[in-house]
């Protein structure tokens, strides 16, 4: 599985993480292009189903990025999101998947560096884990036959 380029979805809240991503850009702080952002008003909007569907559709990793803890523009959306991420990790664990494929991140609007940093680290982490097992299965018809 060399030259594997992870496909990563980042659900970013409008007020902090998404803005931080813009910041990173305007300050020309480079980070891996693997990360694709989907904008939400608040991470409180991101539910387990969104994260699961991303994996189901083929994401190698998914993370939710919201405001710093205690700084949520909507009071506590980011803590709600954190709990949902843990909830999904529990499922992944039961299914024997690596729980590190999903994560919760926090950053303020100003933290372009932090956005780039987390994007870099998470991408590296997923690179280590290898591709979404669903994709591997799809590639090896043999395994399919086995079932």
């Amino acid at each position: 599985m060399n030259n594997f380029e992870p496909e990563i979805v980042a659900f970013c809240c409008h007020y902090c993480a998404y803005t931080a991503a813009d910041m990173a850009g305007s300050k020309r702080i480079f980070y891996p292009p693997n990360v694709k952002i989907i904008r939400v008003p608040c991470t409180g909007k991101v539910d387990a189903i969104h994260i699961l569907k991303a994996l189901e559709k083929g994401a190698d990793g998914v993370y939710v990025a919201g405001c710093l803890e205690g700084d949520c523009h909507f009071k506590n959306g980011n803590t709600r999101a954190k709990h949902r991420v843990t909830y999904v990790q529990k499922y992944l664990n039961d299914l024997g998947w690596e729980t590190q494929r999903v994560a919760m991140m926090n950053m303020s609007a100003g933290m372009g560096e932090r956005f780039a940093g987390t994007a870099r680290e998470f991408t590296e982490q997923i690179r280590q884990l290898g591709p979404n097992p669903i994709k591997i299965a799809a590639r090896n018809p043999k395994e399919q036959a086995a079932i």
């Binding site: 020309r28 292009p33 939400v40 994401a59 523009h73 009071k75």
Partner: protein
């Protein structure tokens, strides 16, 4: 309507309000005016607006960079059409009179075409010294200043420095460089002028006794801000200039260049802000760098007189352990090796001098009026006071000596950001009275085609890809993206559009939509955060619902961030575009639900503040209900005779009351109380019981101004109420007016400051007591020059120009004796003979003063009952000491957290009549900006409940951070769109999936995922 509009046009075609100075004050005034439907021209001599605040690291009392809160969202169409921001522009002259001035404006050449410049920053990167650029802010800047190109990152070419303009032109892919740019002169017809030019922070080098300028580790407060600022010289690391090492001991020296007698280098007035900013810098130093850093502040009087500032001061001392030394060091000496600084100082408690060494010394320098400003004043023909600040009316601080010309901010008198904000809104409000609002809603409707109903049409998508010059096109091949987009069957048009946000491209896209009857649009360019509204307007103009556009962030989140990897950037771009296309398929037309807004206002409180607010609103055609619980208007000011400047309060009040009663738009309801309240911002209904019979009446109003005032404090101490010769300053004030003989009979008068203030129960400073005491002392001296007057004080807080009167009092031999809170004076009454015992620090022993009269400076105490009742009725927050708590203490000082509520006067915090008038005007002005919208836009991104799916499980009711959902009479969850904040938490939590957050519905998010992963699905 039509006719009304014409009338408007005749009244003043293209007439504007001219705002001079683009600092926070100028920006606030500009926004208020534009929002209230006035055309406004904002000029600033600098090439970037933002002013002084943009150079501060963090600002008190919130200790963070709140610039994002105030930074103008100039792209919002509603405002944009009323606003013309002209950087690098100065006023040459102003002819004519109010409201028909003609201003001659000169704009210096920028050598950059603002409409083409994309602020890519290439020029500044390649030829830094040719290009002027100050983001000015800390790294939050770009997020803070969400400026579209109307006020760009503000690049400009310094032509004198440029050696080869060709080079510049070559690297500018937008070819925005204009080598032959010329200064432009423009005549502008102006109804009124707002001066917000601020002041200079003066050049401290004249303070040779502090070695300012020679000693490397002696810096001014502002320099210290820059050193701490992340965008500063040391990237936000606190370090000494001499050796880049982090200081272990930092000292602040207050009043550097202020409150001085040395006319060569000092100014006599108090700069009002230095005490607070020194405290702030010391706190931030410990907060952000190291608790261990020793911070010491040398001061004369600690002047924390603002709202809750005394608490701030206490926190600084008790929580942060900042050391306070009451002394004014006369000099500093630098150690040649260590570059450390030795401070020599004496304290009044004990005779001997101390010397102490510091790593770094900060001079708390204040404000000066610069020469440019003096010239400007000359050109405008307005008078300056003896300190060269704008002379303004006693009872109307924003009114200059010239009708139609208003002043705000530091140019009026030294003040901090909150007060500048208040005054800016006040000045804007006054300026607006000379210029009826443009009735725009009609114009708007004419501008937009009726929305096309696309519900039956199959998706017909247009994809427009910006190259944004080098910024996108230079990294990835836009054409490839266009081709890819075209492969989507339902994409009817896919084109590259250069600079999508340029006027030509916008026009082109609009035409494409119409010609091809597109019903969905994808704009692949920069961030929706900055440009979405712009393109939403474009869709409206093209007859499409504005929610049918999806923006793909190809620049900020792709080409800028992946310049190093163009190949991958292209791959990512294609995916992002696909996400956009898949997403836009699912987007539905949404209605910003709106309600007609009432045009009435409710003003609670009939004192100085309430009446001024009422009149400001009434003048602008608003129907005002002025509610006063007392039998007559007037309030506390009724019992005051004179201001410290000598203004006749009585006469002023008579006139004010007369005008209020007489105004056709004001309905005065005395003997009235508020009994119930309901509704939403813009459409409140409030129940009032009024008159002797307590008749109930219900009024409808869009806004509410709280002007309920505070109470004169009457603490139970110093024999007040037990001996007739112990009185409050208010009693004394009347006595001075009415009983000259008694005053002349007085040999010794003692005044005790902070009686009932700055102590438990009423912890904050009452702000007005020092000036009141000095005012009355001076008046006694007038009628009875031989009287000996003693003022016992803790800190004398004669901020701003009041310092003059303090000096005058000292010159007249009025004795000021300091006491400590721990060692308060004692008042004795031995057989009617009054005397005061206190400790004299200079003599170092207790003294006893016989007194014919003891005046207690009792100041204010919050009207707890009233604020409690109203805060419960209106759901408004209060401070710990029971004043109303504004939405943002610094940037929205007269706005309450509940939209439609505004606060002014002593219900906000203790303040003088003059200051109350300011807040009244400000509150009225802010109220008008809301009223001008004529309708209540409730937006579209709110949660909607499908009652057929709802299981009434209460999960949304419990999960909502704002307690909006409730189970209605039918037994289903109901979420009022007008209250919903649109976070979507309920939608995520709903176990029945009965709630969707409009414009972020689940199927839209899923569709975007599909777009990204099509390969696998």
């Amino acid at each position: 309507m039509q006719q009304h509009k014409d009338m408007n046009d005749q009244q003043y075609n293209g007439k504007s309000v001219l705002v001079i100075g683009g600092g926070v004050g100028g920006i606030r005034a500009t926004l208020d005016l534009a929002e209230s439907g006035r055309n406004v021209v904002l000029i600033d001599k600098s090439y970037a607006i933002g002013g002084l605040m943009t150079q501060l690291d963090r600002t008190f009392p919130t200790n963070n960079c709140d610039l994002c809160t105030v930074s103008p969202h100039l792209s919002e169409s509603g405002r944009q059409q009323h606003m013309d921001v002209m950087p690098m522009t100065t006023l040459e002259n102003l002819t004519g009179g109010s409201p028909d001035f003609t201003a001659t404006l000169v704009t210096q050449p920028r050598y950059i075409d603002i409409n083409k410049c994309t602020a890519c920053g290439e020029c500044a990167k390649r030829y830094p010294d040719w290009v002027r650029f100050t983001p000015g802010l800390d790294p939050r800047a770009p997020t803070c200043m969400r400026y579209p190109q109307a006020t760009p990152y503000a690049f400009s070419i310094d032509m004198d420095k440029v050696t080869d303009i060709k080079k510049l032109q070559n690297i500018c892919k937008a070819n925005a460089i204009l080598p032959d740019d010329k200064a432009v002169t423009k005549k502008q017809s102006v109804a009124s002028v707002v001066l917000s030019v601020g002041a200079d922070v003066f050049d401290s080098t004249c303070l040779d006794n502090y070695g300012a300028g020679n000693y490397e580790n002696v810096v001014t407060g502002l320099q210290y801000e820059r050193i701490m600022s992340a965008s500063g010289p040391f990237q936000g690391d606190l370090a000494r200039v001499s050796d880049r090492k982090r200081p272990k001991k930092v000292a602040w020296i207050q009043c550097a260049g202020s409150r001085g007698i040395n006319s060569k280098r000092d100014v006599p007035y108090c700069s009002s802000v230095c005490c607070m900013y020194a405290l702030k810098e010391a706190m931030v130093t410990k907060e952000r760098f190291a608790k261990e850093i020793e911070t010491t502040i040398f001061y004369m009087d600690m002047r924390t007189f603002g709202k809750d500032y005394e608490n701030y001061f206490d926190r600084a001392q008790n929580e942060y352990g900042i050391r306070m030394v009451r002394s004014r060091p006369h000099s500093l000496v630098e150690d040649a090796q260590t570059k450390n600084l030795t401070v020599t100082y004496a304290q009044e408690e004990e005779p001997q001098c101390h010397t102490e060494s510091f790593d770094m010394v900060v001079l708390s320098t204040g404000f000066r009026i610069g020469e440019e400003t003096k010239d400007l004043a000359g050109r405008l023909g307005i008078e300056l006071n003896r300190h060269h600040f704008a002379q303004s009316d006693t009872f109307n601080p924003v009114q200059t000596s010239k009708a139609g010309v208003y002043v705000c901010g530091v140019f009026e008198s030294p003040k901090d950001i909150p007060e500048t904000m208040v005054q800016a809104s006040a000045a804007a409000s006054m300026a607006a009275t000379n210029l009826p609002a443009i009735v725009t809603d009609q114009a708007e409707k004419e501008k937009f085609l009726p929305e096309r109903n696309v519900s039956q049409e199959p998706e017909k998508i247009g994809v427009f890809v910006c190259d944004c010059g080098f910024d996108i096109g230079g990294v990835i091949d836009v054409q490839k993206i266009v081709e890819y987009a075209g492969t989507n069957p339902d994409v009817a048009v896919a084109q590259a559009v250069g600079y999508g946000c340029s006027s030509e491209s916008m026009a082109h896209i609009e035409k494409q939509i119409k010609d091809h009857q597109l019903n969905r649009v994808v704009i692949a360019g920069c961030s929706p955060r900055t440009h979405e509204t712009k393109f939403q307007d474009l869709l409206r103009r093209a007859g499409l619902n504005k929610y049918l556009v999806e923006m793909v962030n190809l620049r900020d989140q792709n080409t800028w961030a992946h310049m190093d990897a163009p190949k991958e950037a292209l791959k990512k771009a294609i995916k992002l575009v696909q996400i956009g296309i898949s997403g836009v398929r699912r987007s539905r037309p949404l209605l910003d639900n709106t309600l007609p807004m009432s045009q009435n206002a409710l003003v609670i409180g009939g004192g100085v503040t309430g009446m001024n607010a009422a009149l400001m609103l009434a003048k602008q055609g608003i129907q005002v209900y002025l509610v006063e619980r007392a039998p007559a208007l007037g309030g506390l000011a009724r019992s005051i005779q004179k201001t410290i400047e000598g203004g006749d309060v009585g006469a002023y009040m008579d006139d004010l009351i007369k005008r209020t009663m007489a105004h056709e738009n004001i309905q005065v309801l005395t003997r009235s109380i508020i009994v119930d309240h309901a509704g939403i911002p813009g459409l409140f209904t409030t129940g009032i019981q009024t008159g002797l019979r307590m008749t109930y009446l219900k009024i409808e109003h869009a806004v509410t101004i709280l002007a309920t005032g505070a109470l004169p404090n009457r603490p139970d101490e110093y024999l007040l109420g037990l001996n007739e010769n112990v009185m409050t300053q208010i009693d004394l004030d009347t006595l001075i007016e009415d009983d000259t003989d008694k005053i002349q009979g007085m040999n010794q008068v003692v005044m005790i400051q902070c009686a009932g203030s700055r102590e438990p129960g009423n912890p904050n400073c009452s702000r007005i007591c020092c000036q009141t005491a000095i005012k009355n002392a001076l008046r006694i001296k007038k009628t009875n020059p031989d009287a000996d007057i003693f003022i016992l004080y803790r800190d004398i807080r004669t901020y701003g120009f009041q310092e003059d009167y303090y000096r005058e009092a000292r010159n007249l031999g009025i004795k000021f004796i300091r006491y400590k809170a721990s060692q308060k004076p004692e008042v004795k009454d031995s057989a009617g003979e009054l005397s005061v015992k206190t400790h004299d620090f200079i003599l170092g022993q207790p003294i006893e003063i016989a007194a014919d009269c003891i005046a207690l400076s009792t100041g204010f105490i919050a009207d707890d009952e009233t604020t409690e009742d109203l805060s419960m009725m209106f759901h408004l927050p209060r401070t710990r000491d029971h004043y109303f708590l504004e939405d943002h203490v610094k940037l929205r000082p007269v706005d309450m957290s509940v939209r439609g509520f505004f606060i002014a006067g002593t219900a906000h915090s203790p303040q003088s009549i003059r200051e109350s008038v300011n807040q009244a005007q400000a509150a009225a002005g802010r109220a008008v900006t809301l009223l001008a919208k004529k309708e209540i836009n409730l937006g579209a991104a709110h949660a909607r409940v499908d009652s057929t799916k709802c299981a009434s499980c209460l999960i949304c009711v419990r999960a909502c951070p704002f307690d909006i959902p409730f189970i209605n009479a039918e037994g289903y969850s109901q979420i009022d769109p007008d209250k919903c904040h649109g976070c979507g938490t309920c939608a995520a939590d709903c176990p029945a999936k009965a709630i969707q957050l409009l414009s972020f519905e689940d199927d839209q998010i899923m569709a975007k995922l599909d777009g990204l992963f099509e390969r696998y699905n």
